[in-house]
């Protein structure tokens, strides 16, 4: 084990008290929400099935449900003690489904609607992080209407003059790297913008920072509401680009848990994830994606209020590395949510 492992935050599940009042074991029936109508439907279904399998293995009756016209009726019929949202993108992350669950009086795992909406919008989240004195690569967020009104070439020239090249172009909302392109040459910028605008109306153009890519997940499982960072996961895709294929093809990307970064960087990236979780008002679980620059500076990229829970996702990987049984982890999150009923 590397030296960094000694300082990586770890969790001993055996020492964690169950949330007061209701034990994990008597959760009753729970519902895992997955699917939806976003571009990440496939990923979401993979997350949902994994979570259901883990919960069943841990002895909890878990139902997989889609976010469709049947959902509210199903909630009434099944009366779950809590819902775990494994929806990615769109209404699963922008607060909409959470608001409906609150109206229906159904407790759920995860961040409340207003904070979800804010965190899901990358430029809004980055702005709050920057105002808090944390580092995030410089960026410009521009809707496609602005390019049309002011002229695309002129706007792109201004952006490149400000940010330089290379840059990362990505939709302001959404995940799984869909619609994201690293641009190294100016002639590739218009094509990257069009690709991005196919996924949403606003693009974020962000200065490209080279370094070690890490993901740090945060969970709240001790019943007191305090957030706990899991070990940072270092992501090393063979092509250098952590795109959709690299994310969801098992074996396409190597991971290191804990990340092969020095103790100071490990502390910094862990503190960054906890700070993002706190500053953005997140709850229960989140994942912060960051870059440890070549000079050791840690840069915030984005945060996920509904992190991937698939077989290739970093939150389950970090949880297992920290000693969690995944089924018990999800039980604890659900038990915590059920307390809010």
């Amino acid at each position: 084990m590397s030296e960094s492992a000694a300082v990586a935050p770890t969790v001993d599940p055996d020492t964690r008290p169950a949330p007061p009042g209701r034990s994990d074991a008597d959760l009753g029936r729970v519902l895992v929400l997955a699917g939806g109508l976003t571009y990440e439907r496939d990923v979401s279904l993979r997350s949902g099935r994994r979570v259901v399998d883990a919960l069943k293995a841990a002895g909890t009756e878990a139902i997989l449900a889609d976010a469709d016209g049947e959902l509210l009726g199903l909630l009434t019929v099944t009366s779950p003690s809590a819902v775990l949202i494994a929806l990615h993108g769109g209404s699963g992350e922008d607060g909409a489904i959470r608001a409906v669950l609150e109206c229906a009086g159904v407790p759920y795992v995860g961040t409340a609607p207003a904070a979800s909406r804010l965190a899901f919008d990358k430029p809004s989240a980055k702005e709050l992080i920057r105002r808090s004195g944390l580092s995030t690569p410089d960026w410009v967020a521009v809707p496609h209407t602005t390019f049309r009104e002011l002229g695309a070439n002129a706007v792109l020239d201004v952006i490149v003059a400000r940010l330089g090249l290379p840059v990362m172009v990505k939709p302001a909302q959404g995940g799984s790297a869909l619609g994201a392109t690293a641009v190294h040459a100016p002639e590739d910028l218009p094509g990257a913008m069009v690709t991005c605008f196919s996924y949403g109306p606003t693009a974020v153009v962000e200065r490209f920072v080279t370094g070690v890519e890490v993901a740090v997940s945060v969970v709240e499982v001790d019943g007191s509401g305090s957030a706990q960072a899991l070990p940072p996961v270092e992501i090393t895709p063979p092509s250098g680009n952590y795109d959709y294929t690299a994310r969801y093809t098992a074996g396409e990307t190597d991971f290191h848990v804990p990340a092969r970064i020095d103790p100071a960087a490990t502390r910094a990236v862990t503190e960054l994830a906890l700070a993002a979780h706190r500053i953005l008002g997140l709850r229960d679980l989140s994942r912060t994606d960051a870059i440890v620059g070549e000079d050791g500076t840690v840069h915030f990229l984005e945060v996920n209020v509904s992190p991937g829970l698939t077989e290739t996702s970093t939150l389950p990987m970090a949880a297992v590395a920290a000693g969690f049984d995944l089924g018990q982890l999800y039980q604890r999150l659900l038990a915590g949510a059920a307390q809010r009923r």
Binding site: M1, Y39, R41, P190, G191, T195, D243, A246, Y248, G251
Partner: protein, 434 residues
Amino acid sequence: MAGITLDPYRDRYAQRMQGMTASEIRALFAVANRPEVVSLAGGSPYTAALPLDAVGAMLADLVAERGPMALNYGPGQGDPRLREQICEVMAVEGIVASPEDVVVTVGSQQALDLVSRVFLDPGDIVLAEAPSYVGALGTFAAAQAEIRHVAMDDDGLIPEALEAALTRCTAEGQRAKFLYTVPNFHNPAGVSLAEERRDRILEICSAAGLLILEDNPYGLLGFDGEITRALRARSDEGVIYLGSFSKTFAPGFRVGWVYAPHATREKLVLASEAQVLCPPSFSQFAVSRYLETQPWQEQIKIFREVYRERRDALIEAMTAHFPNGCRWTTARGGFYSWITLPPGLHSKVMQPRALAERVAYVPGTGFYADGQGGEFMRLSYCFPPPDRIREGVRRLGAVIEEEIELLETFGRGRRVPPGPASAPGAAAPPPDLV
């Protein structure tokens, strides 16, 4: 410190699996099958038009009368009675065949794989129409063949383009193993090989010693009821013929066939036995009984009418809703229309916007082995009812308009960012959408 790899066998896979990775296109198609989305992507036959009560009763009789045999292994070459009936079906297309030279397969997709196993070594050249059926491209790619596309127009494969491709092979000191062609109601192009070109194509291939792989799943589905004689009907040599009951009866049984010269047939049987032991007996018996007891040719007429009405709905809706600059083929049979987008538009790039508007199609890139085809898309009219087709086309028209507006903003000369390098098939839609 070693990292975590989520695939402990990563360094042991065969080279032919390179590029078989998760793809964005596959992920996006997960949305396409939702009922909220009008899917003009899928190539599924409209099996609801079958006499399901009669089929149910027929299957019950089959189990009652021949259950023990139907539920057991059978001959590797396929059920002898079904092979006779397959010859009767081929006779409708003018082919005089012996049941001895028919091999029943698990859909014609297995036939494609068997032919590839029997004929292709890594690096061999396969000539295929541009565009080509995505399932064939995936099979040839898995055999590590080099796929070279040959141009088509509204009359199908262009003889001069085929000659040019052969000339190029000769100049390079190479020889193509076979020409893969779908001559009738092409998937995805929706066109048919013109009568006057058929003999010419046969002559060119004969002169070059080039084997033809004729894939003909749609041949009986011409809307005017006229059946064009198959290439195999015109030549006793040099053509391996693939047929299927997926479009004329039901794909759920997965029954197809390959009709090949005697010596080749023996190799195909051995290859098939190594792969699946025997084609599924129950499915074969079911198809055989269907042909025996049901008016299957009358049912094909019903299918033709269903599909013609839907084709008309598609064409009328495209005429009404698609912006200037779009062109399309008007199929005289089969399932598909092939759309050419206005210059500069890219169907793969546009796909997320279409799904956001709840309409799905298959980007043209899936039908090329070399990443081309972005200016095209395939629309299927076989499954959704006419009203849904009209609604889907209306939505798609608006999507194309928006994409044109973006294009005008960012310029027509923009480069499309290259996607991840996926093998043909890996970036294709899933089986129920091919």
